[in-house]
Symmetry: C2
Subunit: 328 residues, 2 copies
């Protein structure tokens, strides 16, 4: 997730005390120390009831699953293998023991899927709303972590899977509630919102390619994530509207609505990145071999930090307007 | 800090997916993986406004300092060297940018003192109260981490520094407020509450002794921490009332008040532990050499999990009644 407060940049450290250990920060996960073979990667994300989730749009089980998924996605964006997680949870009286067990059950099911172990945490009281903070630690082959700052002019821009589905699903839930009857395609969108799957395997394909690849995960919408790559790499990304892999279950919606969900919706937890024109077909083929769709959606065209959308004959500047959850 | 909710024990993992990597959990920090030379140690703690701190008892600077201190203390209790920290913070509208900068400034000052680097985090919004979650990563020499489960019958029980000062300082603040005029000895107690110093150096002395030592940090009061060692090691600790190093600035208070602060007050962030009768004089001498006072406060007398206080001729059973902050 993104730092929403400007003062944070002021406190970013300019040097480290561990001169023998390298630290890469700026991406959502930090790379540090490790061994001769591996770098350690760590990330932490907080989800707040009423801001990032509500009981009427996610079940407790899904809330737990998503709290871990957000972090696994951050690690996937570094190409890392997740190993361990810690859960710090602040619990108000409005949550029952059964609901809390379901939260942990959701995390555990996703953790088992990716062979990640719960190794610690903290449990405290709070007055108003549930707050879940998950820390995940993983590893990536030495100097192989995939940073936002690796894009170069001439690169292809790609994204895994479909985008926009999560935001479209959330719109349905906010409009009709969790208990309403839904068509199959609507249920697909709701599922995309409620139980997103972090693209750990795709991240590993990119890391193991041993090629220069920039990478980011789609937590705040394509526009925001593309802008982060553009800023970190000081390049211009041009995305082609007709190439965006809009979630097919949205096809009944207006095109502008679909684009809005994909560009500004967020929480799809797909991976967006860039690779050279030579590398792209190789990683696309390997993704296909493993059942993952990798879509070519644009190009890196210049050395100025900006993102444009080519829509028919118009080039539209895409600002970094992120997804503001329920505050829309 | 302690898990206050019973369901947590149900979700403690019984096996790990990383068969090649060892995981020790149960202490406040978890030991995992690492190299041939080092084990990695990680811990996470959450502090909630209104539960763990209030703006009228701590300044924003002190809140930041304490949020990190809690975690450095957890690592000290494992004998580990802290290296990195991550800060996940949920911010309500009632906090100004200046106050938030002061929070980070407080963390940074303590971090610099212990040569620890901020490497990441998350920043989100919340409706009501500030929530700070700090994750700290460190290292300890391979298989040298100091667990609560290492106590044996015949051991001496020890504690570093003074105890009870933090709780006595909090009582003053809750009674008279932050702005009241205070005597010098009262200011000392208030300082003990507002800016506790984690005993990282003492933890390192114990780890480097290469001896069997059980260890815990005093976050919830001596009674609670001693009980944790008793339970983890399945032993009985007998503490001698007259040997407890009650904070000297409390001496104007009734003895029972002083004892209550030391046994049930918490947040002194001293280290309590046990070592064999042969080891204790060695680590006490090394502590003295480094300017740290290490007090002999009791003995391990039996193989049943229990803690007693010898008070004159009476043996009083000390329950694990922890410190409940403002809910007293």
């Amino acid at each position: 997730m993104k730092d929403e407060f400007s003062f944070i940049s002021k406190i970013t450290p300019r040097h480290t005390h561990q001169s023998s250990l390298k630290v890469a920060i700026g991406d959502d996960a930090a790379v540090y120390s490790g061994t001769d073979l591996f770098d350690e990667v760590i990330c932490v994300d907080t989800m707040v009831e009423g801001i990032h989730f509500r009981k009427d749009t996610l079940t407790p089980y899904q809330i737990g699953k998503k709290a871990l998924a957000v972090n696994l996605s951050d690690l996937a964006a570094m190409g890392a293998i997740p190993h361990y997680y810690l859960v710090s949870i602040a619990i108000p009286k409005s949550w029952s023991e059964e609901q809390l067990e379901a939260v942990y059950h959701g995390m555990k099911d996703l953790a088992n899927q990716f062979k990640v172990d719960l190794i610690g945490g903290d449990t405290v009281s709070i007055q108003e709303c549930l707050v879940i903070t998950v820390t995940v630690i993983g590893r990536v082959e030495k100097n192989r972590s995939l940073l936002r700052s690796s894009a170069e002019v001439g690169d292809n821009v790609f994204v895994t899977g479909y985008v926009g589905g999560s935001a479209a699903g959330l719109s349905l839930l906010l409009e009709k509630g969790n208990e309403a009857p839904y068509f199959d395609h609507e249920q697909e969108l709701i599922k995309a919102h409620q139980e997103p799957v972090p693209q750990v395997r795709a991240g590993r394909i990119f890391a193991q390619s041993n090629e220069r690849i920039s990478l980011n995960d789609v937590s705040d919408g394509l526009a925001s994530e593309a802008n982060e790559i553009a800023e970190a790499s000081q390049v211009t990304l041009l995305l082609y509207e007709e190439k965006l892999p809009l979630h097919p279950a949205m096809s009944a919606n207006e095109l502008d609505q679909q684009l809005d969900a994909a560009l500004y919706g967020g929480e799809d937890f797909q991976l967006i990145g860039t690779a050279s024109k030579e590398t792209f077909p190789l990683i696309q083929a390997e993704c296909k071999r493993q059942g993952i769709s990798l879509h070519l959606i644009g190009e890196v065209i210049d050395n100025q930090p900006a993102v444009y959308l080519q829509k028919e004959n118009a080039k539209i500047l895409l600002s970094k307007k992120g997804y503001n959850h329920f505050s829309k």
